[in-house]
Amino acid sequence: MSQPAESAKAAPRTAVLTVEGLDVTVGPGVRAVREVSFTLERGEAVGLVGESGSGKSLTCRSVLGVLAAGCEIPAGRITLGGSAGEQDDLTTFTRTQWDAVRGKRVGAVFQDPASFLNPSLTVGRQLSEQLRVGSGLPRSDARSRAVELFTAVGLHRPDEVYHQYPYELSGGMLQRVLIAIAVSCAPELLIADEATTALDVVIQAEILELLNRLRTEQGLALLLVTHDLAVVAESCDRILVMYAGEIVEDGPTAEVLATPAHPYTEALLRVASIGAWERRDLEIIPGRPPETGAELPGCRFADRCAYAAQQCTAGPVALHALGDHRRARCLRPAGLLDEQVKEEAHA
């Protein structure tokens, strides 16, 4: 959980998004997201990483109010901007209230671009509609602005793409269309859930540069879900690590990558192949995460943890503050362990 005492004494900053104690259930009593808390500040980029199925997308979907049927938020608050009143909690928003937020104050790009576009309208039409509704541009301006945005996201022949239907574009081109739509109304917050995974690295680098520019020029805050730690290293100020529904680590990117505190983060960094171009053994983290929503007495990583001790499974493990900027959900944070203890554990 967040530590009010800690954040109160920090310098005044402008929160764009605050998530507090968020739980998401995907069936009766099946908590797939558990007590997730974090904040995003104006212009800040935060990388959200973690095991496949750990709850990253559910977290993003909660912030956007687009959870699938059957998924619910039994606990937690999500607020935008500095607003803190009861009435500003997004988890209580009605459909009309969402219309003023989604696509306007908060933009989103998801993992599966095709399912967010209307298959029977050209992509140009979909973008200019958004511009007309969201920014009130007249039809002709919306059109030329749309072509500009398509150019900005690196689509070759933007005026031809304007007239194409989603099925005529490759996955990567669709993803760029979605990014153009997401940033079209100059949102305060952009949620990018694996927005660049369908793109080649050249285009990915260009898109990340574009997002960076929007951050510095417009103060856009970015929540970037990715499996590529190098992307986080290059473009995020802070990193949040999820495991089995929980945030297990939170801190400035460079520090976390250099000295991971949580054993899961450490293991993930060990197996990730970053920038290595030779043939090698591809290492894995042995074992499997607990079943979604399983209720366990103690640490959810204990089964797979090299440093697990008796105390780890005795009771719930809280997300502790480690100094001013970092948090970890671990009783024996790896970064603080003796080198010798670590060597023995891995032996």
């Binding site: 699938a68 995974t197 369908a198 080649d200 499996h227 190098a230 171009w277 290492e283 499997r288």
Partner: protein
Amino acid sequence: MSSPTASHTTPSATTHTTPAAAPGLAPERKGPAPLLELAGLNVSFGRRATSLRRAGRTRVLAGIDLAIGPGEILGIIGETGSGKTTLARATVGLVRPDAGRIVFDGQDLTQLDRSGLREFRRSGRVQYMFQDPLRSQDPELTVRQIVAEPLAAVGALTRQGRAERADQALTLVGLDAEALGGRTPGQISGGQRQRVSLARAIVTRPRLLLSDEPVSALDASNRNLVLSLLDRLRRELGLAVVVISHDLSSLAGIADRVAVLYRGRLVEQGPIGEVLDHPLHPYTALLTASAPSVRREHRLLPSQLRAPAASSGTQSWPDDEGCVFAQHCRFADDACRAEPRPGAVTDTPASAAYAVACHHTATWRDQLG
């Protein structure tokens, strides 16, 4: 994306290996006959008329020569929209090529009629793992049914037997068959869906697997798990695997060779370590330089390789004329208006299997600051 009225000669539409004008074009391969051989493959799609262009055909692949042997892993990398998926779809008969041969195990698939092709697909000898699982998986079926489906087409096992084989395949890709088997695709995460697609693709124990971005939605550990599984299948069963991926670093961990596509052309192919470490084509160099990294130690910077902004997007160098990369190439000159043919590279250790399509292969690096 190309003009249908181009006046210069596109690679000849002959069905045989590439024209004799350029010697040593298709890299020669040592060893046994390839399991799959593509020769002179051309694919285009019909295009509607728009306010800017008349209706016509858009060329998506041109003059592709590729081969893969049993137990071999071939990586395919390249630009978004460059035709990687189309290449895989053509190979399994989902897209009809305009020209060229697709020879699988001695049989030319382009000569098969519709029912012959259906028969071939049903046999399960070649499997294709779709890039976008959400679009390709039936939302009404359970995960177990989705995985078992290709077995029903083969028609070999009982229902019970099929369900068991499906569960084995799910376990192989690191999924909990018991927990996930009964859910529908909408009820699992993106990475889980991707592994369901892979389980479905290997359940018939194919001889060739075409996997379109099989690990893009996975975390590092599961990525390695899936790639090691492919590595094991090729060693133990002689499975040939084509892996389309944007993750150069993971690919380098298992692939033997890599082919680089740019706008429908193969611009470079060779042993993956050599190609990535010391690319001979400027596009490959840009690709490797753009790969994100935690520490940039051993590489060129993308800015050293990108064309100055002014030169791209100008109309002075029409598509379909000369080198496909010319509009974005920092090293383009007048010579590049003639189309470079993939020529074999002779001064590398594995020269027999190395080819690159650039007029300035030997010299462009000299221009780097």
